[in-house]
Subunit: 351 residues, 2 copies
């Protein structure tokens, strides 16, 4: 049971195979130099197999100055369901190339000193590179010591200096969402936006307008109501927009929570979804989108993809292959069709 009981090492294998430790090392690591006879190779291999040999990655790391560990510091890992997908993406990409993730949580509200300490802890563990992730798309001030190893920002861009990063294509996602509505035949489409000044708020708004304009509609004149980015905010914004003159026949919502509020507003007004009102969300929060009735058609945030892309490129950088440019990489937000979209009732307006 106890860990260090007496693990079999390279030496034991050497002894059992009747060769030197050096040879064992050469065989087991497929060293590019050092030719070893096939006979010796198999002798070593079977001895290792038989003794149940497993390498001590710590020792390998110390000697080779490469730990094979990627640090992942995530801001507010517990506040959204997205953390798991970023970690999963990074984990799978890392493992495919022999690396392992070391995860540390940090608070988005903590001072810069504490965040430097978090990175420092990873550095002491000799991580080969660091992934710095936030749980919603924002611009962060990267800790000063982050540049001591290759590093990539996930779901965030840095103020000033050049860190490579990967973020969702907010504008593109919004365009995708609006196009779903356009293709269904809607021409009067409203947008329930967030009030916060973050990249997603601005990106989704411009994507919304672009899509309308590209379709020959007057993007600048389309109704937009902003409110808090939660269900209550969505309810309020939707109520305002739906009670206005010539209310839209379809709503694009900043996120799924706001869409949930829009559902309530619609119900209150006796509007049935999607017959009287079509709705598209953003985020693809399974818990909400799939639980709503009817199911919410939305656009997914590429958390898995961002984690995987970042880990993969980070490893490239670590291994000396050309790493990513120090600029943000945009990942697409794919549509997820459910049941909240249908064609407009008759004219161009609901009700």
């Amino acid at each position: 049971m106890k860990a260090g009981s007496r693990a079999v090492g390279i030496k034991d294998v050497a002894l059992a195979a009747g060769v030197s430790a050096t040879t064992v090392s050469h065989v087991l690591s497929d060293a590019a130099y050092a030719r070893i006879s096939p006979a010796t190779r198999s002798k070593v291999r079977s001895a290792a197999e038989q003794l149940g040999y497993g390498p001590n990655r710590l020792a390998q790391a110390l000697r080779s100055r490469r730990s094979g560990i990627l640090g992942l510091v995530s801001e507010d890992i517990a506040t959204t369901p997205h953390a798991g997908r970023i970690i999963l993406g990074a984990d799978e990409a890392a493992r495919a190339r022999g690396y392992t993730l070391m995860v540390i949580n940090t608070s988005g509200t903590a001072g810069p000193g504490s965040r430097e300490a978090d990175v420092e802890a990873l550095l002491e563990r000799q991580v080969d590179g660091i992934l710095y992730a936030t749980m919603f798309h924002r611009v962060v001030e990267a800790p000063g010591n982050l540049a001591k190893v290759p590093a990539i920002l996930v779901d965030a861009v840095s103020t000033g200096q050049g860190f490579a990063s990967v973020v969702p294509d907010e504008a593109g996602g919004a365009r995708t969402a609006v196009e779903i509505l356009l293709h269904a035949g809607h021409t009067r489409i409203g947008f329930l936006n967030n009030t916060e000044d973050v990249p997603s708020t601005n990106g989704r708004l411009s994507g919304f307008r672009d899509a309308l304009t590209s379709a020959g509609l007057d993007g600048g004149a389309a109704p937009v109501e902003a409110a808090a980015s939660d269900a209550q905010g969505g309810y309020e914004a939707a109520s305002r927009i739906l009670r206005g003159a010539a209310p839209p026949s379809a709503l694009f919502c900043y996120n799924d929570r706001m869409a949930m509020g829009a559902y309530r507003a619609a119900a209150e007004l006796g509007l049935s979804i999607p017959a009287d009102l079509s709705v598209v969300g953003f985020d693809n929060q399974e818990l909400i989108a799939a639980s709503l009735y009817p199911g919410l058609t939305t656009v997914a945030l590429p958390h898995y993809g961002m984690g995987a892309w970042a880990a993969d490129r980070l490893i490239d950088a670590v291994e000396g292959k050309p790493g990513p440019e120090p600029m943000p990489m945009l990942l697409a937000c794919p549509p997820v069709a459910r049941a909240s979209v249908a064609g407009p009732r008759s004219g161009a307006s609901a009700r």
Copy 2:
């Protein structure tokens, strides 16, 4: 920028302070033996400070045969929002004691071979102990090699052999939920249960009946409808129970998703929550519970607490202090009051 440029080591500090590396080691690690003069101590300290010395935890680990790393293998980390809270709890508890988390994801549906390989990867990294977590309470067959280091199951219990583990007190949580309804004055309470044969289904059912019986009601006769544990299932079960003869004035739901379905069923029947029908959920999935209107009163799953408790006890075991018994530890599910509970309308039944 590059990692291994030429990190300052214990030797550089020794040189700068005019002492031996041994002395530096003793000072910096506050070794229990070895008395060192205060003068030397501060000399060493300031030299270390000045050179920006940071220990190489890999080397320390190799020498001391203690890595200070806790492995966390989580089954299906991305399928629920709970992963983040378990990780956060474990991370904070671990860091408070100088440990760091190494996270690996594994698939609940993967074969035993693949799960052993996952544990093996952690073992090669010389983790001091392993936390094996699932994202919903279940009984798992622990990988065979998990016992090679101290290990604790999180949100799961093992078939057969004795692993320590920590799980939510399902029955207690259900009692808490029902008592909220009881205290509000309800006497006819229905239960919307899950159909799967998992610990939470059975535990919550028995807690439901216990609470009623303890209150002098006939727990055995209370209405229970089982369905799939999602919004649709909740809608169906609630519809059945609410359309029955003498429908209950309050509903306890297996989880928040089913509660969401119950909201829809109530709306369809013209029942207003909480005036005509009180509802209590289970899980405290913020996304749903806080977004529903009115806000859902529920009972929280102790993911953060399970992660923290497990990491803390695992470290005890690693450090030779008495570790946890090889049996499941139950953690309470605290109530979270929102706005879905009120007193019954007049008689004992709604409508």
